[in-house]
Subunit: 402 residues, 2 copies
């Protein structure tokens, strides 16, 4: 078997953890498997580099930031190689240009274009464990790039696809994917299996564990993923194609508190008003999530939408700049809101799931202010203070603890 | 003009120093020059990386050490680019593979083979300051290498040669090359000019400032060097070809306390004894410096030689292993010795220089235990406790303070 194993920054945060990861990889190696390890930068080292950079230049060039940050993973992989060497196992560390990981040249948020696998294959044939820097790439002019959020997961999945790996294991600090955040819902249960689409919805909802970009890539190339803990030997959660067999009605409940609701009240009810509003926001790169339009009185309407908390002020400023005061009555902002979602591939064929969710919330007195849905997801916007009671109610309603 | 400027680790040790270097480079840039900057790793960062590595693996793979250490210069060049960016000047940082700096694959001590200059030329044509990682290279299989001691100086000189630079400035923490160590000799004077050969002798004698490897390379390619301080605007010392004009009888006095004298007393006076002795040491990679053979009594002889202090015990052990006790009387070791040297291109055509040196030492009562000479150098081994008085006496004798 060829196994790609990815470990995050906390998993290689100090000497003991580095040896812990080394031993896990060597276990598989000694069973006769080919092992490719993808690593992030150690612990807080990326943050420290960013701090140094911003101290020198608060508005740093993205190219030079990537040049700086890519040293972080290179330190991780070389130290890991030294640890495996100390344990007597042949291994080699490779950075993005040695692999080579070709990307677009969009610094700080590059996309992988192509991975050469000759070098890795060659090293594996010599029975070495190959340790690869996650998160980074090289553009066609040999500039170093980074892949942005979830970058190391993406590197691992892309390598697994390029090498036709038999397994791609994403090691993290949790045991796998849960039906809900165990810190918030007592009966939260680890899922054994989840489909790509369900995982995508959960990732997009900020349920952590995996970035949706890596899940998308895994889905595209049919790379079966396992999410498991680097701290114990538990089995983890398998993420794979929807086989139509084990479709759960609802496989998980997720909550995202990083939302602010903005309501533009009393807009003139003319054609093109909504277009102009969202076009203005888009031009300033402000991502809008849920949208609700309601008809008001006297030929006016209200438009409400949610954005991430840290761009809420920018969004309001954009609106005030592009809409004359005369065209609306007021802008209201509410920060103490949260998005609560249920995700399940089984929803597609089972009507009434949304209704059950609303019923559960009604029973515990939680008011719903906005609703948005996809084929396998229902999201509602609620008051942040009700998150706990709402999550538990919904979790119980769908018997997710069973 | 195209100017290559090299700054060592202390010159970029913190934010203030980074900006100081940035400003010096920008000064030349604003005069219309093309500027290429070569940097070492910041301050103690290389030592810190080595410490981390040895903590994980006391006997680390040299390949992985190079992979680890090359991150140091990459951090320097990217932070420098951010500083120049903050000062509003277009610039770009390049590491060894981006340049590309082709080397042999001898990790930890690689030799430069070839430098591509397309990328640098291209960036200079766009009127950018180009900031290059010193000390590092890439072998033909894309592995990262380091150049060993004096590596960043070597990078600077090699770049100056490859780019046909008009000047190559080596910035350090001293004002230039002195007639003697100013901490030891009060009248020590900074030299305005020195020849490659004189500098080579001084470097080999451990007079610091420049590693002889970079001087050799400069001599080979006719790259005129300037050694000057990164802390002030003083003119520094020019190192260039011997033009036959300004040959000084003696241009400098150097001292090297890192020496131990080993004497093998009462060796059988047979053919091949000296060969066997030094061959044994060579096989264990023990470098021998000065050698003295004297005829003893009763068909025996004594062989004395000096080695660097930290290999003295190894040298004695090698001798004891390879020479049966019956073949010599005893091995004596003396650590409190120092090599005192005078260097001057003018010696070649002026007999009597060595005699003047010996006279000066005789006048202050310093005994000479070994002598070695080259065409432009005389070195004597003396007791370490006489170093100060001996240096000053010789310095005075040749009127170097004038």
């Amino acid at each position: 078997m060829l196994i790609v194993k990815k470990f995050g920054g906390t998993s290689v945060g100090n000497k003991e953890r580095i040896f812990n990861v080394a031993r896990r990889c060597i276990e598989d190696y000694k069973k006769g498997h080919d092992v490719v390890v993808v690593l992030s930068a150690m612990g807080k080292s990326t943050d420290e580099l960013i701090y140094k950079a911003k101290d020198i230049n608060p508005n740093p060039s993205k190219r030079e930031m990537d040049m700086l940050l890519t040293t972080g993973e290179q330190v991780s992989v070389s130290l890991m190689a030294l640890a495996m060497g100390a344990l007597g196992v042949p291994c080699i560390s490779l950075n993005a240009f040695q692999v080579a990981m070709h990307t677009t040249h969009r610094y700080g948020n590059a996309r992988l274009k192509r991975i050469d696998n000759d070098r890795i294959r060659n090293e594996l044939e010599q029975r070495k464990i190959v340790i690869v820097t996650g998160f980074q790439g090289v553009d066609k002019y040999d500039n170093l790039t980074t892949l942005g959020r979830g970058g190391s997961d993406t590197t691992a999945v892309a390598l697994a696809a390029a090498l036709h790996a038999d397994a791609c294991e994403i090691y993290t600090d949790v045991d796998g994917v849960y039906t809900a955040d165990p810190r918030l819902v007592k009966g939260a249960r680890k899922l054994d299996v989840i489909t790509y689409d369900e995982m995508l919805e959960l990732s997009t909802l900020g349920a952590g564990v995996l970035h949706n970009r890596s899940v998308e890539l895994a889905k595209k190339y049919g790379v079966q993923l396992v999410v498991r803990s680097s701290l114990n030997e538990n089995e983890g959660t398998i993420i794979k194609e929807d086989t139509g067999m084990e479709k759960m009605l609802v496989s998980g409940v997720a909550v995202d508190k990083n939302a602010t609701r903005i309501a533009v009240i009393g807009l003139k009810d003319e054609p093109g008003v909504a277009f102009r509003l969202f076009d203005a926001l888009a031009k300033y790169n402000i991502n809008v999530d849920m949208i609700l339009q309601s008809v008001g009185r006297d030929g006016t309407k209200d438009i409400s939408f949610t954005v991430e908390e840290d761009v809420a002020d920018d969004a309001a400023a954009v609106l005030e700049k592009h809409f004359p005061k005369s065209q609306y009555k007021e802008i209201k902002m509410k920060r103490e809101v949260a998005k609560l979602s249920i995700v399940g591939a089984g929803m597609q064929t089972n009507p009434g799931v949304a209704a059950s969710m609303f019923e559960a919330l009604y029973n515990v007195g939680v008011n719903i202010s906005m609703i948005s849905t996809s084929e396998i997801r229902v999201t509602v916007l609620i008051d942040e203070k009700y998150v706990d009671v709402a999550m538990n109610a919904v979790h119980d309603k769908f018997s997710l603890a069973d």
